[in-house]
Subunit: 605 residues, 2 copies
Amino acid sequence: MVSKVKRLLIGRPMKSNELDHEKLSKVKALAVLSSDALSSVAYGTEQILIVLVAAGFTAIWYSLPIALAVLGLLAILILSYRQTIFAYPQGGGAYIVAKSNLGVPTGLLAGGSLLVDYILTVAVSASAGTDAITSAFPSLHNHSVLIAVTVILLLTIINLRGVTESASFIAIPVYLFVASIFVLIIAGVFKYATGGAHANVPEIGAAVSNVSLFLLLKAFSSGCSALTGVEAVSNAIPNFKAPAEKNAAKTLMMMGLILGIMFTGITLLAYWYGITPDEKATVVSQIAESTFGRGGLYFFIQGITAVILFLAANTAYSAFPLLAFMFAKDKYLPHAFMVRGDRLGFSNGIIFLGVLSALLVTAFHGNTESLIPLYAVGVFIPFTLSQLGMMVHWYKTKPKAWQNKFAVNTVGMLTTLTITLIFIITKFSSVWMAFIFLPVVMFVFHRIHHHYLNTADQLRICPATDKPCIKGSTVVVPVAGVTRAVLHSISYAKSLTDNVVAVYVGFDEEEINKMEQKWEEWNPGVRLIVLRSRYRSILRPLVKFIDTVEWKTASTDHITVLIPQFITKHWWQAVLHNQTSLFIRSYLMNQKDIVVATVPYHLHK
Amino acid sequence: MVSKVKRLLIGRPMKSNELDHEKLSKVKALAVLSSDALSSVAYGTEQILIVLVAAGFTAIWYSLPIALAVLGLLAILILSYRQTIFAYPQGGGAYIVAKSNLGVPTGLLAGGSLLVDYILTVAVSASAGTDAITSAFPSLHNHSVLIAVTVILLLTIINLRGVTESASFIAIPVYLFVASIFVLIIAGVFKYATGGAHANVPEIGAAVSNVSLFLLLKAFSSGCSALTGVEAVSNAIPNFKAPAEKNAAKTLMMMGLILGIMFTGITLLAYWYGITPDEKATVVSQIAESTFGRGGLYFFIQGITAVILFLAANTAYSAFPLLAFMFAKDKYLPHAFMVRGDRLGFSNGIIFLGVLSALLVTAFHGNTESLIPLYAVGVFIPFTLSQLGMMVHWYKTKPKAWQNKFAVNTVGMLTTLTITLIFIITKFSSVWMAFIFLPVVMFVFHRIHHHYLNTADQLRICPATDKPCIKGSTVVVPVAGVTRAVLHSISYAKSLTDNVVAVYVGFDEEEINKMEQKWEEWNPGVRLIVLRSRYRSILRPLVKFIDTVEWKTASTDHITVLIPQFITKHWWQAVLHNQTSLFIRSYLMNQKDIVVATVPYHLHK
């Protein structure tokens, strides 16, 4: 049953050598890896305007220079990451770059920061997309948590089906979104150029008394949230078709270009149309309404925006499992993240991401907006560390014209560092949590690593001297009566060794006598030892007896406890039989150095 | 940790021979077994008045003849059950009496009906007691489910501690309740006799136009809910100190007497004071207020009434586990209900009752009033069957003066049968559920019984001919590398037999070559067989290999699969290691007739 449902949802299992077919073409890669970055235009301009409008309507002209700064930052990031792609063709996420150039702890900080961030991405994007839906259909408002969790569930299933299918599914809405925003910008500019929709807007350079540097920095850092997701391409190089690094670099440039054009267009139109943020309608919605009126095109843009926000969450689904795999390979996360599932994706990473983000959405009742600054900081810390790592990389390897490359990354590092500091200063009340959970996450990585190293130490053998040594065998068979299951176990025990004892734990003299008589009558050729239990516990006297046997013979003999166990025909029938054998087994396994064997006895009716 | 908490809550484990000290004296037995019956006076009169008042204030005089009828019924029940106690000194619950005289299915119907009823008792009483508390402190109203569940939890813990301690704990409030109701009745009668509190009440015999027979029957059956719990004493005879049956009979008579006096007193005072049911104040509360005013005595009576309602639930805690034990002994319920816990109570029955009633309270959001008629029917069905069983008993055994005894039980049977029918007719909308779940419960009993008989059949051996037969041994050791854990397992396997194969499941050629080289270098004297898995599954190729071995050798050899398993020092470290061995073990155990042994390898750091 379970396996049928699984087959239906996930698809047939795939062979390991089908892995190559799962690689991404540029067109699909752009869709899968850039929906996070591209979806930012849905709220980037708005974030800037919200801060500025606090200083009055006149202040909105500042959105143009701030947007220019954000665009500059985008260019710097794209160029920096382009360098990283060629320097680290095996996947140059912040983790790898920081680890190999700045040392392991810095790498862990960068990677851990990103891992946490991907979980936040899914939670925030799913909630934001749900908000878009519930704004259109207010009656759904009470079910927003359910909608967001359902979306997360769907994304998890799609990703468990495999990378390629996920890409095919996702490409269509992503390109529809890009196309519709382009149409909106062209139509909007045309309308403005032909004299329509001129609003009374503050001139560029108009003096505004209460605009402080702090306010401008805050607006700038808010606008920078439009840049989260830019790193996705450089993390995912191994997912590209060959030649992977060239394809990745082209995809990255393309993404930067599209993002830049859309962001510029939206910000310009917003200024020209004199649009201010409104609780009830987003900036993009206002532009679309001014351009097209509330017609079909308007509703189409609103709908596709909601979809793209859901798909932004999907970026994390391709990035998180890959990063978790790298951590697991380096022994900083459980090995389970290295296992490929039936469809060759890292299923455990995908499921872990889905579960944690769904919990986050539930815990915040779908109001995850307060997590956005935290999420932005979680991106800019690894941005900075990655650039710093690249600087060290160029300085150490000194390839041709390394000074230019060094300069690009230096500018990138200083810019992202500045933005990180601006975030921490202007939004400390939202980001202080990072200072608690990042150390915790680092500590967990450290403990896991420590455990794996310790285990390897204890398991290592010297092939030359450590050879199997053969000892005798004593088999202890706990019996509860004279039944076919006991016959089965005794037969098995006698096949292994002559050294077999049956042990019976009795609670009162009457049953003990009865058992002794039965045993004598049966006479299976094995001694029966009777233990008396005054506390109705089978385990305690049994363990005491095994202790004695161990003390007497363990140096010469292996001790095996052989437990007869019923296997009922239907699983639910198991509640009808006592599960003492399970208790005995788990106790002995955990406490003692003896082998526990369960001899199944299958009931056929 | 867990065992310390358990020790603290439940107390130290007790030896089996301490069981005798757990027997109940009459004084304690009265408290433990009659709180259900006695607490009925808190609502019995009120139930009658609620029905009557629907026909107008004048109709309330009918409460007197109806109360008389209820008292008559009480006397009949007490006399009938007194006969049962002496006829069945080993505990003469409806189950035993009906089973041994009317056949097994009737016994199961009576007993099953009671088992379900005890769960309802706990749920209904806990909710009613909570209502009393929240009436006094309205601010607690939103937490009523939490309060009721906490009460159930406390009762469960008290009962897990053992019968005697539970009795000592319970005796005080029960006797305080009885004493305070007696004081109330005496003071009330005195006040009325000395001319106080005369209300303008309808005369006895006053004509009321719209009183129908249906209404009177409904009022009567409502009043009969005051009699639930009367059977508790006869079920629990084995819990009494010797001479058990005499002590039980005396306790039963005493309980009948106290209940009769209290019920009469409350009903009379209610009539004299002209009290009608009120949503905000119970009948007892109104009587107490009229008699004492809203002073200390009034609040004391209210408080102790709430406590007695909680303790009514406790009756079920002594009756349910005992009845479940009998069912389990007769193989109609899982054996688990026969196990005595650390404190000699039937822990599983106690816990089962607690969990199910807590679920019921939660499912009904604490509004379990609608379950009361269902609960009453669940009592009167076994009442009737038990009386019928006693009739057959006397007729078959024909002791001295059996005709008298037969007559008593015949009257009892006819009365309870009539009441059951009245219940079904007047309150069908509340009791129809019984016609669904009783057949379901009966079916479950039947299936469980069938399974146990089948199992016994399959397990039975003929001591003369079924002797252990000795075969050879083949041991298969799945290995994942060359480690100390593998060394350990191979040593063990070679100690058992020379017929050992190591099996390695590889996913790609590179790792397979590496493994083969390592094995050759180590050379432990055991052949390594390499299986290739194209689907990254270890289980599938392994099972296929074992099938082959089985096919080749199973008739001559026992096959053992020996799984090396890490035991980490701390339980949480287990997530860091793959649990493949668990999967392999549970699959092989359930699907195959081969022995699976786990060789523990304890990590020490």
